[in-house]
């Protein structure tokens, strides 16, 4: 599959590396070129540094069909905005934004974004730990 990832922080870079290893075609985008260095020299996917929303850049990435778009910047609202934009404009079938706010995550899940909420996950995990 061809997977585009926005945000090359701890989550984005790790997903990129792992998914690329597993054989998927990966494109990683981050407005800060320094962040892309986390991918290491062995990374076999494409990268895009700089403002994502510049027409030429975004066209280049999504020209070829993208199966999954993952929004993993550190800002909920940026992830939500890009997930919707990319889905609507480029008809990407699956968009996965990371959203820390549980209520916001749940609200957008109801409208078709496959939100992932680290706060909810941590909540479940810690609860289980305490139950033991």
């Amino acid at each position: 599959m061809r997977i585009a990832i926005l945000g090359c922080g701890k989550l984005g870079s790790r997903l990129a590396a792992k998914l690329s290893e597993a054989g998927h075609q990966i494109v990683v985008m981050d407005r800060n070129p320094e962040a892309l260095k986390q991918l290491g020299s062995n990374f076999k996917g494409e990268t895009l540094a700089g403002a994502v929303f510049i027409e030429a850049n975004i066209e280049r990435v999504f020209q070829e069909k993208v199966d999954i778009f993952i929004a993993a910047t550190d800002k909920d609202n940026v992830n939500i905005m890009f997930a919707q934009w990319i889905r609507n404009r480029f008809k990407v079938p699956r968009v996965i934004p990371r959203v820390y706010d549980p209520i916001v995550a749940r609200s957008y899940r109801d409208v078709g974004l496959e939100t992932v909420c680290p706060t909810d996950m941590a909540f479940e995990a810690i609860q289980s730990m305490i139950k033991e």
Binding site: F53, I54, E55, K75, D76, N77, V78, I80, M81, Q84, W85, N88, R89, D101, I103, V104, S107, D110, V111
Partner: protein, 227 residues
């Protein structure tokens, strides 16, 4: 009317003051603690500290009974989420979002925002000379449905309405003076108020009457204006 305004930058702040002066109920939401503190001195109960793009803050601001939510922060994504959440969770308010980056207008359209206002688009229109420089008529926004426009018009010395009182103007049916910007002041229009040269008047007008209104406020001018 009860309006919630998200983002206490210049636009949010002046909009709040204007609405309050017109007797409306307003809640201005600002996330920055320092900014909030200084605003609280002036605006008291009309300002709330919080993130307008979260349910908790919108609920605290009484979004369920708001007529309109205006998101005018400097970050498009925050404006988008504030409006979308309000629509999803509180249903009732109409949503108005400011778009700073013109690229994002594309994003906002079709995402459930009732009105999108793009300052950059306006300036671009001026630069592109879609607005004739000597007329200085700036379409501020088209309301949903396209039936009504809000225009900003600069009154020149040769305007037929300079030094006339608002109540004496033959305005087309359904037009309304929203405000007059005179220097640093934002004036609430009254019938007995005179319009001065260099005033920037903001007028609500039905699209069908827009051309007539331009005539009334600008008159026949054909002089060339070098930009």
């Amino acid at each position: 009317m009860y309006a919630i305004i998200v983002g206490a930058g210049k636009v949010g702040y002046y909009l709040t003051k204007l609405l309050l002066s017109q007797g409306h109920e307003v809640m201005l939401i600002e996330n920055d603690r320092a900014k909030f503190a200084s605003l609280a001195n002036e605006l008291g109960d009309s300002v709330l500290l919080g993130d307008g793009s979260t349910m908790e803050t919108l609920k605290e601001a009484g979004a369920n009974r708001a007529d309109v939510i205006v998101a005018v922060t400097g970050h498009d994504e925050d404006n988008l989420v504030a409006c979308q959440l309000a629509k999803m969770l509180f249903i009732r308010p109409r949503t108005i979002a400011r778009v700073n980056n013109p690229v994002n207008e594309d994003v906002f359209s079709g995402l459930g925002i009732d009105v999108t206002v793009s300052a950059t688009k306006l300036l671009n229109a001026i630069i592109q000379e879609q607005v004739k420089a000597e007329d200085m008529v700036i379409p501020l926004l088209s309301l949903r449905g396209g039936d009504v426009e809000i225009m900003e018009i600069e009154i020149s010395s040769s305007s037929p309405v300079a030094n006339k009182m608002i109540k004496d103007l033959p305005l087309p049916k359904g037009s309304l003076f929203v405000s007059i910007l005179r220097g640093d002041e934002v004036l609430v229009p009254r019938g007995d108020m005179e319009i001065h040269e260099d005033d920037q008047v903001i007028v609500l007008v039905k699209k069908v009457h827009a051309a007539v209104l331009r005539q009334i406020l600008i008159g026949q001018k054909t002089k060339n204006h070098q930009v």
